[in-house]
Amino acid sequence: MAAIASTPRMRCLYIFNRDGVCLHYHVWLRPLTTLSPHQDQKLMFGLLFSLKSFTAKMDPVGGNKGNLGAPNLPGQGCSFHSFRTNTYKLSFMESPSGIKLILITDPRMGDLRDALKYIYSNIYVEYVVKNPLYTPGQPFKCELFNATLDQYVKTLQ
């Protein structure tokens, strides 16, 4: 029982910028990899893009929604915050500047909206954006970011 309770529930984290460049890809536990990381990231961004235009069109509340696939700025139109399959749960957050954070976890994880907000504002902004050596829009490798992220994610188990 103890072994089951301590199995990590995090699978991986993706960070994309508004152009679809994968700034960061972090893996904690991924037993199955069918695609190369690059292919996988492209497919993930494509899925999020289409899901967003899907939810924007499906939105039962908003009035004028335009055509399916009409471009929406970050924050415009009805977006989504998570989906769940039988093997994983994907939580999604988009910042006003179009930075997308995607956290893949075990399907039994609860609501991770606050966790994503925390990762964005207290880890990504603090350790990556405020790093003077970081060029915006470029993939990053930042030790302090990884260490803090690992530490924070452990509290989410």
Binding site: L29, L43, T55, M58, D59, G62, L68, T85, L90
Partner: protein
């Protein structure tokens, strides 16, 4: 809490829309949009299972959007039934199973129904309307 079902879609194994119904005035879609959304959902469902970090993934079961929830049920033969509801509606998995039961009883067992073709069966319409209305009133729980 008054639970509301906004739309119901049934898509065949190749992604074609074979049944669409909207309930109430919210989220009404025109025919072309419902067809497009159905086939878009079919492909995203397939992609989501390709991206799984663990083997044996069968695709999205629940999508939580800002203003609605989408619950999807996939049968073993690849037919998908999905409904959009108000956010946080409980007991939809059960209801989707009941809808699938109605589909097998009143659509698949209908001798005049051609498999994978649009559904036009009076009894299915009738029973489905009853189920959705009843569950909507009962708050979709306790079944």
């Amino acid at each position: 809490m008054a639970a509301t079902v906004y739309n119901l879609f049934v898509i065949n194994k190749s992604g074609g829309l074979i049944f669409y119904k909207d309930y109430g005035t919210h989220g009404r879609l025109d025919t072309n949009d419902s067809l497009r959304l159905a086939s878009l959902w079919h492909s995203m469902h397939a992609i989501s299972s390709q991206l799984s970090p663990v083997g044996g993934c069968t695709g999205i079961e629940l999508l939580e959007a800002d203003t609605f929830d989408l619950h999807c049920f996939q049968s073993l033969t690849g037919t998908k039934i999905f409904v959009t509801t108000e956010s946080g509606t409980p007991g939809m998995e059960n209801m989707l199973r009941l809808i699938y039961e109605l589909y097998t009883d009143y659509v698949l067992k209908n001798p005049f129904y051609e498999v994978e073709m649009p559904i036009r069966c009076e009894l299915w319409d009738l029973n489905l309307a009853q189920l959705v209305r009843k569950d909507g009133k009962a708050g979709l729980t306790g079944r």
